[in-house]
């Protein structure tokens, strides 16, 4: 029997790529395929839990003034249903699907940071578990998934319910950011030879856009929850109106995350649809460019919609009109995608299989959700139906119709690449019709209940106001829908007993179908050489190409055998550029995640020593994680020489290209953080008549100005190093970085002294709160820059291994860049805190 394309029968190679062995091996497993599957299983489990909560709520609402549960319990279920579905189900499961599939779709072997993949999973799991552990104590979060202040603040929610929510959320969101970080780098830098940007499968374009959005959007909600946690634990006043704080600040920050979040969920789902339609119509997408344009522009525009959740908070009409415009205009790219799909189907020959059924269900339901979405963008209409059941209907049409249906379609479609089995068609049809009918029976009447004045988030309603029938029908529909989900689970379990299927049972075109079902852990032994957007349709063979590429790919297939190799390709040309050692299995990701979970969990109970202990565990885990690993053999060194001739460098640690991308993205995150802090400062300043308050006296002007001068001169010295090469200017590099570090150190001391002269604390008023936070951020950035400089100094001094010089070079570059970012933060913060009050 011939092996499917891309499989190996070399024992050493398989051994290297197999998951780690041993009784606790699953704790230290890394790599995308085991971790991706765990993401899917955990995400689906949370989906079921959230669904059961919804069923209980539907039972409570089935009749007026029902007594099935107390309002307190209802509010807990309502809050956890929303939080589970939005934070613990959709985003993680989509990221998990991408984690699992991206390497094989891209025709490569793994994601850039296997240990980070594992860490993201553990952080997600522990975050979810932390949030759910509140049920054991009967104190589940009860402030809604949107957690509006001041209801969730220390005064109106004195219990620990919201602490579980905030801290669990922070861990889960951190996981989301990390997964996104990895996926971006994977899509940009780790692809099969020949896969240029214009040939990336649409699903991954969607993931690229969604992941970039996650990086920026999730930061604002992390910061907002930091404010709230500080308000609750340290008595800061970000959200206390009587102390100059603003309750609307939370809404702005939350929705600046919350609206992109909706598109973060929808875009990958649309990507799935764009993958499935061509396969089941046997036609290429009518316009690939139009679809990518739609994805990108929707992603960008989604950052201009947030205040349409706030039309009723009383904003000036002109402000509302900007958000109205964008809420309406964002339908253009979505319409564009819709017509691409229709035109593709128009051309093609439809093959009615379950994935296609679900995609058609998506098109109908999402169309309704999209149309009501445009209606909600019309501000005056929104004044009526905002926070009513009309909105509940709308976003379930968008999130179930627009995300869950494509997701289930994706499961049916990609199950051969997840478990190796095809799911049953007959049960698939049952599954579809039950879900489709149940969904519409459950959610369509909610539009009408909204028109009948039913507000959202109510645990009951009085009799005789015309709501009973709508609610009864909705409850009935919810159970039909749940039955559909049950059929899905049964179908899945039944499929596990089937034999593995062919590599490409659907006759699909993308690369994951070139390898066996399920794919081997390394996905491809011989990397495919891509010549078009639809490689399996266009190319008879995947290993033909120009001589050099074929040679490289063949060499890679036979070497290395004893370590896992990652491959970096050029972002534009898709040529092979680098080969690097992927991180191997380790207990450190789970240890790090455990440390953080202990730290956050202890904080809920005000046990700060335990919290500190958790942080220490995390720090140790991090340091061990970063330690060097195995050494290359003589054989490796010979082959490295061979690769050098192709212009492909081999790196024993992470690749420099990936390191550059990482720093670039980290800088983006740091600047988003800065932007959010500054927005907070100026937003609060417009909210109070006197800013800064009379009582707040700024001290230590001279020291502060001096500190700025020191950092600027430090930067000049660092910037100067750009002139020196690694080869000739090593001593000069060392000298410059050393001097700059001393200057920065002095600057930090001066700045701290300046802050010690302040006459107010973070509890006195909102001004004090944001002031101290900005100050802390300033010092944090300084410490980061100093640490980066120290690492660079250390490597410059001690690492003379010629094979490692590129890596040292990257460390130096990264130290330099982080110094730039640090200075940008310092000057912006100095300007804001010291100078801006005198300009206004």
């Amino acid at each position: 029997m011939s092996l499917p394309y891309g499989s190996s029968n070399d024992d050493t190679f398989i051994e290297t790529w197999k998951s780690a062995a041993g009784p606790f091996a699953w704790l230290r497993a890394v790599n995308n395929s085991p971790i991706g599957k765990r993401f899917l299983v955990t995400g689906f489990a949370f989906f079921l839990i959230g669904g059961i909560q919804a069923l209980f709520m539907r039972l409570q609402l089935a009749k007026p003034e029902n007594n099935l549960m107390s309002p307190e319990l209802y509010n807990q279920l309502m809050s956890m249903h929303g939080s589970t579905m939005l934070f613990l189900f959709v985003v993680p499961i989509l990221e998990g699907l991408a984690t699992l599939l991206a390497p094989s779709m891209l025709g490569t072997r793994d994601l850039p940071f296997p240990r980070l993949t594992a860490f993201a999973y553990w952080a997600y799991l522990f975050g979810g578990v932390l949030m759910y552990s509140s049920f054991l104590l009967g104190v589940a979060p009860n402030g809604g998934w949107f957690a509006y202040v001041p209801l969730t603040g220390p005064e109106f929610s004195p219990g620990i319910n919201m602490d579980f929510w905030l801290l669990g959320l922070e861990l889960a969101e951190a996981s989301g950011i990390i997964s996104a970080f990895e996926l971006i780098i994977a899509v940009l830098a780790m692809r099969a030879p020949g896969m240029t940007l214009g040939r990336i499968p649409v699903f991954l374009w969607a993931m690229l856009v969604a992941s970039s959005m996650i990086l920026f959007a999730f930061m604002t909600v992390l910061i907002a929850s930091l404010y709230l946690e500080l308000d609750r634990k340290l008595g800061t006043a970000f959200f206390s109106p009587e102390l100059g704080g603003s309750t609307l600040l939370w809404q702005h920050l939350f929705w600046f995350f919350g609206h992109p979040e909706v598109y973060i969920q929808f875009l990958p789902a649309a990507g799935i649809v764009s993958m499935i339609i061509p396969v089941f119509c046997r036609q290429p997408l009518v316009s690939y460019t139009a679809v990518v344009l739609a994805l990108v522009s929707t992603g960008v525009m989604s950052f201009g919609l947030w205040a349409h959740h706030m039309f009723t908070t009383g904003m000036p009409d002109i402000t509302a009109s900007f958000f109205s415009t964008m809420s309406i205009v964002v339908a253009i790219p979505t319409g564009l995608q819709f017509f691409v799909w229709i035109a593709t189907i128009w051309r093609g020959k439809v093959i009615w299989k379950t994935p296609m059924l679900f995609v058609m269900g998506f098109m109908v339901n999402f169309l309704i959700g999209g149309l009501t979405g445009v209606m909600l963008g019309v501000a005056p209409f929104d004044w009526q139906v905002h926070d009513s059941y009309f909105v509940v209907a709308h976003f379930h049409y968008v999130l179930i119709g627009g995300v869950v249906f494509p997701l289930i379609a994706g499961f049916y479609y990609w199950m051969p690449k997840i478990t190796g089995k095809l799911m049953g068609e007959r049960l698939g049809r049952w599954n579809f019709w039950l879900m489709f009918v149940g969904f519409n029976v459950a959610f369509f009447p909610m539009h009408l209940a909204g028109f009948r004045g039913m507000p959202r988030r109510v645990y009951t309603y009085i009799e005789g106001i015309g709501l009973a029938n709508y609610n009864l029908i909705s409850t009935l529909g919810a159970f039909i829908f749940a039955t559909g989900i049950l059929v899905f689970v049964l179908n899945f379990l039944a499929s596990l007993r089937q034999p593995n299927t062919d590599p490409n049972p659907w006759g699909a075109y993308s690369l994951e179908w070139a390898t066996s079902s399920p794919p081997p852990p390394y996905a491809f032994l011989t990397l495919p050489i891509v010549k078009g957007r639809y490689p399996l349709w266009e190319q008879e063979q995947l290993d033909k190409g120009d001589e050099e590429t074929v040679d490289m790919v063949k060499t890679l297939a036979s070497w290395p055998l004893s370590w896992q190799a990652g491959v970096v390709t050029d972002v534009f040309t898709g040529r092979l550029r680098e080969v690097f050692w992927l991180a191997n299995p380790s207990y450190m990701p789970i240890t790090l995640a455990t440390g953080l979970a202990i730290s956050l969990g202890a904080m809920i109970f005000d046990s700060y020593w335990l919290s500190a202990l958790g942080l220490v565990i995390a720090l140790i885990a991090y340091l061990v994680w970063m330690n060097p690993r195995q050494r290359p053999t003589e054989n490796d060194k010979t082959i490295e020489e061979k690769f050098k001739r192709f212009g492909v460098a081999v790196y024993r640690y992470s690749s420099p290209t990936i390191a550059r991308w990482s720093l670039f993205l980290t800088m983006g995150i740091a600047l988003t953080t800065l932007g959010t802090f500054l927005f907070t400062y100026f937003f609060l300043s417009t909210n109070t008549p006197v800013w800064p308050p009379e009582s707040a006296k700024l001290g230590g002007w001279t020291a502060a100005v001096l500190a700025q001068l020191f950092t600027v001169s430090g930067l000049v010295i660092v910037a100067w190093t750009q002139r020196y090469s690694m080869a000739g200017g090593r001593t000069k590099l060392i000298r410059h970085f050393a001097i700059a570090s001393v200057l920065d150190f002095v600057a930090g001391g001066l700045q701290i002294w300046a802050y010690s002269q302040l006459s107010f604390s973070w509890t006195s008023h909102a001004y004090g709160s944001i002031f101290y936070l900005l100050a802390a951020f300033q010092l944090f950035m300084l410490i980061t820059a100093l640490v980066m400089a120290s690492i660079a100094l250390f490597r410059l001094n001690f690492n003379h291994d010629p094979a490692e010089q590129e890596r040292v070079q990257v460390t130096v570059e990264n130290a330099r860049r982080s110094n730039y970012v640090m200075l940008a933060c310092w000057l912006a913060i100095f300007f804001t805190l010291y100078l801006s009050p005198h300009l206004m």
């Binding site: 214009g198 460019t289 990108v296 201009g304 000036p316 009409d317 402000t319 205009v329 534009f572 417009t686």
Partner: protein, 118 residues
């Protein structure tokens, strides 16, 4: 050997107009947030009426977006001629993005004309 347009230019041709739109949007939002009181009165900003400022801002950004759209168009033509196939994808995408986002920035004139300052 084919000539490939500078990498930075490829990135710029792709990302500039979306970013311009975002910047324009946030600025317009901040201006109205800073200059309109809760009662709907216009207090102006930097001595100018906020409406004038908004018109000016929108005008400048429309011009800038059109310029970058043109840049993307030129880059895509250049890439088409010189680079291997599909490499012109990014500027081509940038050009369509430019068309869309220039149009979206232009749209901001409509509410200004109908609703006025606050």
């Amino acid at each position: 050997m084919t000539v490939v347009p500078a990498r930075t230019l490829l990135w710029i041709s792709f990302i500039s107009t979306p970013l311009l739109w975002l910047l324009h949007f946030l600025l317009a939002y901040l201006i109205t947030e800073g200059s309109c009181s809760a009662a709907g009165e216009n207090t102006g900003i930097f001595g100018a009426s906020s409406l004038t400022l908004l018109y000016l801002l929108t005008f400048v950004f429309v011009l800038a977006s059109v310029f970058f759209t043109f840049l993307a168009f030129r880059t895509s033509k250049q890439a088409q001629k010189t680079a291997p196939s599909y490499d012109d994808f990014l500027p081509k995408l940038g050009f369509t993005c430019g068309l869309l986002f220039s149009f979206v920035v232009l749209l901001e004139f409509i509410p200004l004309a109908i609703l006025g300052a606050c």
